[in-house]
């Protein structure tokens, strides 16, 4: 099936699949996010449905644009990179002197031996490594040292949703504020509106979350008593962390959008559109926006992964029971299986985000060739 076949298809819906599918996927995600922001629990089936929509769109796009080989190659590479990261982190953490149970010097030798046997620390290192890799392949990341008797994968599964929620809300906020602000600044280029927007963007980039959070908390929580100070239990709880986390990406997106809209506005096809006498709005939304989103996309990929995997600082400030908090705890407690597991999850998310962004490039700009 090629793009040409689709274009010649008899049914109009099939002909428009290239637009219908991404809009459906996007609408699914946004709808789910709003639903969840309203404080409802999202059933698993809906989340799976969203993921399926995204995958269907990506597969459709890849097959119709001759990217199947590339996608398969990239998937193999992804597996290899994850394996490499797992190995490196494993050996790094095993090589360093001092174990998690060395703190208590008074530990009787019998107890120490029992602990070592329990966590399989007596076996030669290559055996530990093999069982560790086997565990990853089957989805088991070992048992946590600090939460006795609990599997790392179950702790991650429990804490990831809050981080994901926070991240998705923040990213949607960032895109919803950032892109219009950038377009607004570019449309009013050179005027005071442009300058004010850009100064605001630069200050939002520079503001550390531990300055933004106290200011907002002092105003909204202590001053007006409108919002709760911390925790993650419903709509009112979501507002402040989402603003604090989404602020910086929004500002960066605004700056990127502005500069790329300005660049696109000087290109020939825009001049043609102007010469044809099209309305300003038509030119902006039909001709320029899709072309100017490519630099934004390059930024959005990695930052989504970072934001989804839980911003450590924001989770710490607002006491959100997310994965970032567990990671900090596991580091201070030297809970190595936990550190390894969380590292792997974060790395996988980052790799996948970059992968999806690379495919989306070819959607936004068919001239880009992936090899």
């Amino acid at each position: 099936m090629t793009a040409e076949d689709i274009r010649r298809a008899s049914h109009p819906v099939i002909r428009q699949l290239g637009i219908i599918l991404p809009i459906a996927a996007l609408a699914g995600i946004v709808f789910t996010a709003i639903w969840s922001f309203a404080g409802f629990l999202i059933p698993n089936s809906v989340i799976i449905g969203d993921v399926v929509l995204v995958i269907v769109f990506l597969v459709f796009h890849a097959t119709t644009h001759g990217l199947t080989g590339y996608v398969l190659k990239r998937l193999m590479q992804t597996l290899f990179v994850i394996f490499t990261i797992a190995s490196i982190t494993f050996f790094l953490l095993r090589v360093i002197p001092g174990g998690p149970f060395d703190e208590n010097k008074a530990l009787p030798p019998q107890v120490k031996a029992a602990i070592d046997a329990k966590y399989d620390l007596n076996a030669p290192i290559y055996k530990q490594y093999i069982s560790y890799i086997e565990g990853i392949a089957t989805g088991h990341l070992g048992y946590s040292y600090t939460y006795v008797g609990r599997e790392v994968s179950s702790i991650i599964a429990e804490s990831l949703p809050a981080s994901m929620q926070l991240g998705i809300f923040a990213m949607i906020l960032a895109l919803m504020v950032g892109i219009p602000a950038g377009v607004f600044a570019a449309a009013n280029h050179g005027t005071w509106k442009d300058n004010v927007t850009m100064i605001a963007a630069t200050s939002f980039i520079s503001i550390p979350s531990f300055l933004a959070a106290p200011i907002l908390i002092t105003i909204f929580c202590f001053g007006w008593n409108l919002l709760p100070v911390a925790l993650w239990n419903g709509t009112t709880f979501y507002i402040l962390p989402v603003i604090v986390l989404g602020m910086q990406p929004a500002a960066v997106i605004a700056r990127l959008t502005r500069s790329s809209v300005l660049e696109v506005s000087r290109s020939d096809f825009v001049r043609t559109a102007k010469a044809k006498g099209l309305k300003q709005r038509t030119i902006l939304f039909k001709h320029m926006l899709k072309n100017s989103l490519i630099p934004v996309l390059a930024y959005v990929g990695p930052v989504t992964a970072y934001v989804l995997s839980g911003s450590f600082v924001v989770e710490d400030i607002f006491n959100i029971p997310g994965i970032g908090k567990h990671f900090i705890m596991s580091v201070t407690n030297r809970d190595y299986p936990m550190v390894l597991g969380v590292t792997l999850v974060f790395a996988t998310m980052l790799i996948l985000a970059n992968f999806i962004v690379d495919i989306l490039y070819t959607y936004f700009d068919p001239k880009i060739r992936l090899t």
Binding site: I85, L93, P208, F210, P214, R258, Y306, F312, A347, N354
Partner: protein
């Protein structure tokens, strides 16, 4: 005065040279005025002429052009002055700070701002202003030193990778890609764990900063090495490299004497951005308790301290936050200005 533009040299240096005709006509005019002067001897005229011509053709170098454009950008210039101010405070922290960063005064716990403590004291009676000043020292040191380390590592790595090319290049870049696919903060923390457990017998004061420094340096060079590699790949095709090679210059000489000086612009822009993110990361690490540990002071540590008393004493967290915010702002504006000044072609107007 008629000047004509001779053109950009291979190394990008714009040399403005007065046209010979203009010099000759002006020299003649001067010679006429000199003829009334008895000391003037026509025999020296030729030498004199050349010397004066050489004096007058002092090129306007790329650096000077950049500096001139930067000075015209008022916001960027003010930011530069502010950065210089903070740097001075950081360098002379020991002499400026009224108290030591660790000196506790049990009689004045959580004191409000007064004449003896301009910004008040924290929950252990330590002077906030002094801690802020020492914090500037740590933050600036971390920002600048890590940027230097990543500058050296990234430049050498990227230059080698781009220069050798082929399979070596592919392998070296794959390593960078792999390291890059570990999220920054996680990588930082992993390196920090490593470092903290290896070096047990170090001076605690050095150790406090060194862990953070090393951790930040380990990932900082990744982006720079990509940029340098790309620039080296481009430079390999240029004429000046070809001519250097045809004269028998060694690889090392070509890379470090010819190519690197010519790609300083993009390198400086990346390094400035690096300083910003390093200072930010240091304070984040310290804030979540994995960076510098009290009693040592950095803006992140102070923010972490202030967080405990945010309800009653919000100034304890606002002050370090504000200091960090202003410094970041200055670096960001200066970085933008520097980029525009360096390469006015790419300025997004």
């Amino acid at each position: 005065m008629s000047t004509d533009f001779v053109g950009a040299g291979d190394n990008g240096q714009k040399v403005r040279r007065e046209s010979d005709a203009a010099i000759v006509s002006r020299e003649n005019a001067r010679a006429h005025t000199f003829e009334e002067n008895a000391s003037f001897t026509p025999t020296v005229q030729g030498v004199d002429f050349l010397e004066r011509a050489a004096e007058r053709t002092k090129g306007s170098s790329l650096w000077r052009d950049t500096w001139r454009r930067l000075k015209r950008n008022r916001m960027a210039f003010i930011s530069l002055i502010f950065i210089g101010f903070v740097s001075l405070i950081a360098i002379f922290a020991q002499h400026i700070a009224p108290y030591s960063f660790a000196a506790q005064n049990a009689n004045e716990v959580l004191a409000p701002p007064s004449w003896s403590h301009w910004l008040g004291t924290d929950d252990l009676g330590r002077d906030l202003l002094s801690r802020l000043i020492y914090g500037a020292q740590v933050s600036m040191a971390v920002g600048v030193l890590t940027a230097l380390v990543s500058l050296v590592m990234g430049t050498v790595y990227g230059a080698i990778s781009g220069w050798i090319g082929g399979r070596v290049d592919a392998l070296m870049m794959r390593i960078v890609d792999t390291l890059d696919s570990i999220p920054t903060l996680v990588l930082l923390i992993l390196v920090k764990i490593m470092f903290d457990s290896i070096d047990q017998g170090m001076n605690p004061e050095v150790r406090a900063v060194a862990g953070v420094l090393l951790a930040l340096s380990v990932f900082g060079w990744l982006m720079l090495s990509r940029v340098v590699r790309g620039e080296v790949l481009k430079a390999k095709q240029t004429l000046y490299v070809e001519s250097a090679r045809s004269m028998g210059a060694s690889d090392r000489r070509i890379i470090f004497r010819h190519i690197i000086p010519n790609i300083t612009g993009p390198i400086i822009v990346v390094v400035t951005a690096q300083i910003v993110s390093n200072i930010m990361f240091e304070s984040f690490l310290s804030f979540i308790g994995l960076g510098l540990q009290p009693p040592y002071s950095s803006w992140g540590v102070l923010a972490n301290d202030g967080w405990k008393t945010i309800r009653t004493y919000p100034h304890l967290i606002i002050a370090p936050g504000l200091a960090l915010f202003l410094t970041m702002m200055a670096f960001n504006i200066f970085g933008d200005g520097l980029r525009d000044a360096w390469d006015p072609q790419t300025k997004k107007e």
